[in-house]
């Protein structure tokens, strides 16, 4: 019994946290380090951390240091919910850097009620409508915009007389399904024939059945809305089955590590990227190269960096006006106009009626094991696309 008492005592002492210190701004970060999306979640969280260290070493928020509380919620919604409560009640965080779709959606109402500014890595388009999610922000093209840009690029480069045929492959989860209605509608508007729709699970280890179906429909293009593991499975199986389809995919569907996973099958794969690639000649890359000692990082890392950078910019303005509160941060975030991320992304603008950061989408293609930028597509900021 005595040997086990410490265990019980430990379990009972659920949580302790220190009070907030005057000249510190406390920011919470719900990160996925060990969970289902940890492969991309970890670099993203590292990017957030790196920028926090960087700004703390360079003057902080008008002299105030940022205290970043990073917590791994392992992509589990209940853990995210309870950590959110801890952030809010015990750590008294001012704003949150979040992560996945499921948890961001689950917290959407709560953060609106608590007036907690929330920058997520879920780029679902319906987080861009302030009428429904007033405190949600992000710093990348939303999934629907990414898909539309891909379609537009493919249509612009379509040389044949007949209508191009397109199919959609996505996992049957919120993240995968989010941009599909928008994509289908826009594809029809652009004059695509939609010839197929298949579900490939995020944890799939083969996709032969789905691809055989597609082979019959013989699409010219197919969208992949998964994450990199399932994308590599699809690309490899497609190569094996001899599909002539050109694949294009979502922002999370591939990164610099793809050639290792797909072993050559990724050649020609077109992917939406939300930020500059490591080593690009843009002003903002210098700081990144310095803090990483020239060790290349994946694009998710850079997006984490930019997300924190944007948040810090808003914090600076809010602090200057002595309105370092949830509503204050929202107010000044919505006044952010063409914020220059030093070339790491397109300039970021939020307004009280539109939380889409920008409408320009960079498309990259895998060529010889490298990600090569192909085009930047600028879409119109159509009001009817908000939240869709």
């Amino acid at each position: 019994m005595r040997r086990l008492t410490p265990f019980l005592a430990l379990a009972i002492m659920a949580a302790m946290a220190g009070p907030v210190i005057g000249q510190e701004i406390v920011i919470g970060n719900l990160a996925d380090i060990t969970g289902g999306t940890g492969d991309v979640g970890k670099p993203y969280a590292e990017g957030i951390k790196a920028y926090t260290d960087y700004i703390n070493a360079n003057g902080g928020i008008n002299g105030k240091k940022i205290k970043l509380l990073q917590q791994d919620y392992a992509y589990k919604i209940p853990e995210a919910l309870s950590l959110y409560k801890k952030f809010k009640d015990q750590d008294k965080v001012l704003a949150i850097q979040g992560w996945g779709s499921g948890d961001t959606e689950a917290l959407k109402e709560q953060v609106a009620k608590d007036q907690m500014p929330y920058w997520s890595a879920s780029y679902s388009a319906h987080l861009t409508d302030p009428a429904k999610s007033p405190y949600n922000f992000f710093c990348a093209p939303d999934y629907s915009t990414g898909l539309r840009a891909g379609l537009k690029y493919l249509k612009d480069n379509w040389k044949e007389k007949r209508k191009p045929k397109v199919a959609f492959i996505y996992p049957d989860v919120g993240y995968g399904k989010a941009p599909i209605p928008a994509g289908k509608k826009y594809a029809a508007e652009l004059g695509f024939d939609i010839v197929g729709e298949e579900n490939v699970d995020l944890k799939a280890i083969e996709a032969t059945t789905q691809l055989l179906n597609l082979k019959k429909a013989d699409p010219d293009f197919a969208w992949i809305g998964g994450t990199k593991v399932s994308t590599s499975v699809i690309l490899k199986d497609a190569k094996k089955l001899g599909l002539k389809t050109k694949f294009f995919g979502n922002i999370w569907s591939a990164d610099e590590a793809m050639p290792k996973l797909a072993a050559g099958a990724e050649e020609g794969y077109l992917v939406v990227i939300g930020a500059a690639l490591y080593g690009d000649k843009v002003p903002g890359m210098k700081a990144i190269e310095k803090v990483t000692n020239n060790q290349p990082q994946v694009s998710h890392w850079i997006r984490g960096w930019v997300s924190m950078m944007t948040m810090c910019e808003v914090l600076k303005t809010a602090d200057k006006h002595k309105e370092l509160t949830g509503p204050g941060i929202r107010k000044y975030a919505e006044q952010l106009k063409n914020f220059d991320t030093q070339g790491l992304t397109a300039p970021i603008t939020y307004t009280p009626t539109d939380h889409r950061p920008f409408m320009s989408v960079i498309l990259a293609e895998f060529q010889g094991g490298k990600m090569v930028k192909k085009a930047t597509i600028e879409l119109p900021r159509k009001p009817e696309w908000i939240g869709f």
């Binding site: 019994m1 801890k86 049957d172």
Partner: protein
């Protein structure tokens, strides 16, 4: 007095039916209940909401303990049954416009019906084979959660409207806590009494030796099915409360992991024990949170290896669970009995 007899000296049926036998036990349980009800006034919202999740876990664990611990039928579908309850409750509230107080029991009944359907294989199967059959329940239900868009909102999930009494809305941490804890206490009471009834004893007979039970006149299939449906009823209630707690439900939560989590709760807490369900629920809710918070704090202290420390969490959790099973194979409830026995005779134990 607070002294228990050293033997069975009960003289009336009333004596025989007492749950709390001595005054000391009555007073301490009473004090504990009072403490539960004033807890939110003393603790932070975070601790209060953690207690709410424990309350929900207690109800779910009691449910699975009825079918697995008491009746001996392994069920791997508790997580999915909770989902049925949550989606059903939300559906009754949004579409049929029923108040939560009617929708929750209805959701429980709906889940009980579903549980009964998936309990049908228990007529022919037992042990591991039955476990695999209930595993099918988990997958079939998960498929339905994603594809019955009208009821479940598909893979996007769906809002869960907060319960109301008149103009009072249960949307704060405290009100949710009081709701959950009240239901959890009722569930504990009901289970304790159920196990002292004819039906409860029949469950135990089925578990201990099904042939003897049948010879004694216990209808095996009936009681197995009953136990599945009662268990699913608890899951349905727990699921409804989960919906209240989060305000938003999606299929992503009600997975096999959740089912196994519940199974682990009762194994760690103690199979076939009400107290074990409570201990297991507390343990399995607090330990991961403690590890998350602990590794997060450690990562703060050692920023260089912060991510590495955070990654250790799952491993440490696994090790603790394994150690527990090695040193505490009969569950926390057994340890609790030993502690009680130790203090009963203190300091003159023999």
């Amino acid at each position: 007095m607070s002294v228990a007899h050293c033997g069975d000296f009960r003289q009336s049926y009333r004596d025989d039916m007492k749950v709390l036998e001595t005054r000391f036990v009555r007073v301490s349980v009473g004090a504990f209940l009072v403490l539960l009800y004033i807890f939110p006034l003393l603790a932070s919202n975070y601790l209060t909401s953690t207690m709410t999740t424990i309350g929900i876990a207690v109800i779910g664990a009691l449910g699975i303990n009825i079918v697995t611990g008491y009746t001996g039928q392994i069920s791997l579908g508790q997580g999915a049954f909770m989902g049925v309850g949550a989606f059903a409750c939300s559906y009754f509230m949004r579409i049929a416009h029923l108040p939560f107080w009617i929708a929750m029991p209805l959701a429980g009944l709906a889940t009980a019906a579903v549980g009964m359907v998936f309990g049908l294989p228990s007529a022919r199967l037992k042990g591991l084979y039955l476990a695999i059959a209930t595993l099918a329940a988990q997958f079939i239900l998960q498929y339905l959660f994603i594809h019955m868009d009208a009821v479940t909102g598909g893979s996007n999930g769906i809002q869960f409207p907060p319960p109301e009494i008149g103009s009072f809305v249960f949307d704060g941490d405290r009100s949710k806590y009081y709701l959950t804890i009240t239901v959890a206490i009722s569930a504990v009471l009901f289970t304790t009494n159920l196990m002292r009834s004819r039906d409860g004893r029949a469950f135990i007979a089925v578990r201990d030796h099904h042939l003897s039970a049948e010879i004694m006149g216990v209808h095996l299939f009936k009681y197995r099915l009953l136990s599945f449906s009662v268990s699913a009823f608890y899951a349905g209630i727990a699921g409804s409360l989960w919906g209240v707690y989060t305000g938003y439900i999606s299929a992503e939560h009600f997975t096999l992991t959740e089912s196994i989590n519940y199974l682990a709760m009762i194994i760690i807490g103690g199979l076939g024990s009400v107290l074990g369900s409570i201990f297991g629920a507390v343990f399995m809710t607090l330990l991961p949170q403690f590890l998350t918070v602990g590794t997060g704090a450690l990562a703060q202290i050692f920023p260089k290896i912060g991510f590495l420390i955070m990654s250790l969490k799952d491993g440490v959790f696994g090790i603790i669970v394994i150690l527990f099973l090695i040193f505490e194979p009969d569950g926390l409830a057994h340890r609790w009995r030993l502690i009680k026995a130790y203090w009963k005779l203190y300091p003159f134990s023999y």
